[in-house]
Amino acid sequence: MVSVSRWQEIERQLKRTAKSWWKLYWASNYGKAGLIIIVIFAIMAIFAPVLTPYTPDFEAPSKDALVTYLYAFHTDEKIDDMIVGYTQLRTASPLGGDWLILNHGHSIEGIYVQNPKIAVPENSSKAQADIAPWEVNEPPITFYLNISTIPGIGSDEVVKDMVFLAQSTSDLNFHYNGENQRSDFAGELVFVTQSHLVIYDMYNFYDQNYSRYKVVSLGFEPTWVTADVTSVGGLTSPVIYSTTYPPTYPARYIMVGNAHSFALFFHYYTYSGDPNLPDIDKCLIQIYPTYSDDVTTVNNYHTFTDRIKMKPLLFYNDNLYTKDQNVIVVPLENSTVLYKGFDEHSQNPFPGPGDLPLVVPSNIASRITATTLSFSLTASPGFYFASQDLGVNPIFLPARDGDNAVIYYVIPRGDIAANLKTINLREGEIDATPQVFKSGNSLVIYTVKYSDAEGDSYLYKLAGNLSAGFTIQPFESNNGTMESIPIKGERVVYNLYVQENNQFFFLTETNKFYLFDLHSYQKSGTPDIIRFSYYHWKTLERNLFPYPSGSTLSKFIFVGSLQGSRYTAKAAAYDIFGAYYCADTNTVGLTLLKGESRLPLPPGRYISGNLYILGTDAQGHDIWTWLVYGSRVAFLVGIMAAFIQVVIGSLYGVLSGFKGGWTDTVLMRFADIMLTLPFLPIILILTSIVGRSIWNIIFVLGIFGWAGISRVIRAQTLSLKNRPFVDAARVAGASGWRIMISHILPNVLPFAFLYMTLGVAGAILSEAALSFLGLGDPQAVSWGQMLSTIQTSGATMYAWWWLLPPGLAITLISLGFYLVGRAFDEILNPRLRKR
């Protein structure tokens, strides 16, 4: 007797069924269409990495995403120097702006540029062509000062150096809030000629009847003038400090000097046009090397035998709990001298208008102490300008120790020389001022070292705190870490970290302006140091900085920075910019450093050479890539959730139908209740309870979607359980469970499968809805997530390239599964078939 095993029997039967079903299936047009759609999406899911050059993590590089505009103009006269006058300290007020002040030698010219603002229509497609990032008033607000028109200044005198004392907005609150205030014509222009120091109120340019200036005859020939970092807005130096507190005391310090000498003045000033301001003669007091409250001629000045190497740093911060940290750093050829005690009066209570001007103790000069440090600086000192929270203002002094580049740092109080600590950066020299930032509870220093041996510059990140010291922190990326970022073949003399951009700007000895994008590096692991380029605001031509092409950058000044983050801050991005001039072409310009984000990018090929077939989203992700990878999540969620639904639903239905009686009634009532539950509102809460991960969503969808299936399976079970083969099994002594599992369940499987295909479509739609409402897995590359982010980024109403693909994909894939389901339905319900 030929024995046919049970399994062979089943196998044969399955083959037969499969064959006949396939025939029936393929006869259905629904089935064909559905299968083709699913196969296409399956190919997308499996071959995703081949179908797109990018990964879902990929973000369009900043050169594609950001437009850095440049606005420039020519001057008729030669430019000897330029400074920036800050009229609205660190505020984003559209009324505020900055003076570009040009030194023409015999004259000084000022052009007022309003704070950059942009009127991008909220829901436009952001056509950029007509938008100028800067607005110059019409007619332009300017001034022109021929210095020989000032009484006491000879016609042969030329401006040697100048500095702008910004008005203090908080002084304004204390003293004057009148109708004549003009934020554009506030501030003082301080400059030196061969023989004079001149303080010239900006309000003179606004009001013909106003006459407030002071000319001081100097007994020596000055070459430079400087003011404390607070008064100048802190921004003529490349150092950026805490933006939390504006200066509160109307105390300003002015230092005038040449290669070997200097004199130090205290100057009282609050706000131009303030009727409470005392006579300007009472507002200037010499405090070093001798005290004099009648400053018309200065004959006393401090002289070094050694040469003053670069402009001293006049560090003054009166916001502190411990005020004893203000310091003047004079860098000499062979040593460095630190002065303390010049700020004693500011520790008094704040004066009222009647007490003006501040009384500086007449023995102030003798109270000023000097500390000489034995090393010479290689670059201007860096500092941290603390607000009250941290309370300490360390000074960072870049110097050389033998062949090594070192940074000495100290909180300038007590015995400075004894408290001095060092950071050693090994062989090389620091030629650019280190940048100091607060990060959490520690300080972060970005500094660039030039290695004589290698001929390259290296960017270092140092982190730590003042008590424990600083260590070199490697630059971390997704593809490994680097101890430092090399800037090959260049000597960096100016190093600027713009926190909001997460970008570095380097100016080299040869006047090249480089950009290093830390964010891109963190993604890619390759440290690309690229030449900074711009779009001309009118012609939209893209070129290397500076403008015009081929001219040499004479000076670059970092102007203003507000809070904002990469790609997301739009208006604020315009406030991060720099001013420059080129003496060879008489060009003055402003350039955006961060630039305006053009994301989401419409489909097309961009400057980097990248092709975004379907454009990008607001984060710079390639839409096509997300579409392709998104099919994986769709299959995963759809099939897994439907599988859970079918498993629960089938078992439940078979149990209910087979057991009958009370069990059936109770189970089916419960299934009815499950059907009655408002599906979306319930799973909304449930996902927010269990957490927003893709597996939790699958779980929730599975747990809540089985009730409909269980009803159908129960109906099938009811019809099956009275069939002869079930009776036969019962007679043969099979237990109830055995009959359910091995006789009834296999027979309801086709229905289970039918409902699974329909469940897949439902689950995909539900996941999309959940994601859209912000309860999807934020890490998942899913179509629902794409539609959720388009909504949150506010691009729904113009970024069609982003809105249409994911929805279409969701529709098509669920259509695919639905069609397959219908084809099965036709097989199982022959009446539906075409006759």
């Binding site: 941290l390 009655t676 509102p681 809460i685 927010s688 809805a769 249409l804």
Partner: protein
Amino acid sequence: MAGLGPYLVKRGIQALITLFVVTSIVWALFEAMPGDPTDPFYADPKMKPDDVANMAVSYGLAEKYVVNLTDTDFQEITGIPGEHPGFTYYIKQFSFPADPRAVSISYDTSKFKFNIYVYSNESAIDPHKISLPSNATSEEEGVPVWIDYSKYVGSSVQAVGILPRKNFYILLNLSGQNANLPSDLKMHVMYVVDTPLYVRYVTFIRNMFTFNFGMSYKLNKPVVDILADRVPRTLLWFGLATILVYLIGIPIGTYIAWKRGGAAEGIAVGTSLFFYNMPSFWLGLIFIWIFSYTLGWTPIGGYASGDLTGPGSTCAVLHICPGHPLYMFVDYMWHLILPLFVIILLGMAGVILLQRTAMLETMGEDYILTAKAKGLPEKVVRNKHARRNAMLPIVTSFVLSLSYAIGGAVILEQIFSYQGVGYTYLQALYTQDFFLAGATLFIISLLVIVGNIIADVLYGILDPRVRIQ
């Protein structure tokens, strides 16, 4: 033949049980959510903790306790990090039986001039390890810091950002060295502990069934009033849409089933299938993009302009302004056009497909063949014999579509900023307004269940067989 009456009674009881179970599920879900309906009230410095606590007690959510402290309850303490030499410090330590929901401290601030600091932690901690905020250098995260509560005396400690835990510390500082606490010091510490789960459950069910829904924290109105405003809006939109969907969908479905194999069937089925599988919110977005933003034909969102006449309002666009006899109608309809259109497109797909299937099934029955064979006009066979019997699954689907529609209201109302129940529900969830969210979910469930009852009645009338079961 069984009467309709007993059938309806049976159905009604079933619906009640369903409502009870669904309400229990709603309760369980909200209980599982982190937080409590009263949390935002406590964190609001404008609210008196006593009032909130009384409210919580009345909703069965909390038990309220008051402890009265005098000067003898405090102990002097020294060696606190950051302490000022010119001050004397006193401390009081609490160990509550469970994590309190809220704690508030009150005393006569005009009489007793000292600073009060609070700190709370899950496990007991040495109070000498808690630093004072003036210790400016201690900025490290995770270091326990006393929080200055002086300006918030009388408010819940949540107002200064403290999440009350089992162990609770109060620190007073008096100026002067070795200063003594005033002997007449009276300080009330009120704390609130959650009631046991069964109490919360029973009161929740009772409150829901009696429509005692509590207060909305965000909208500062009784939840009942809010829902009374918003339920009709949802019913207007979805009721109207459902009726239109069936009115249009059934004839089309019947027709294409009858004319099997024609081009009309291909197009209708293809289109229907496409829309049937489309995410509703996506279609909504596309419609807003095309009709509202680009063409400007329909409003961007909202349920009506009402008294507003600014740009984009009904008055400004259609020139029918408040005072016009038809204003109300035009205003509501203009805002409803697009939402209605979206639901009709999406819902009709389902109805057409279902009606077609149902017709096909019925048309296979022998009695249709018989009717045709005896020479009845095709129209009569189609409409009288076939369509009527095909109505049964349509009625079932009406039930399901209603529950789907109300569920889907959540997402569509969000898209159209249509302030109905769905919109309210989402906003309440986002803003942690749990009284409102819970009640809204209950109402949504109630609407679905009521819809079910209506469908059951219809079913019972249409098909006498179901009454016998």
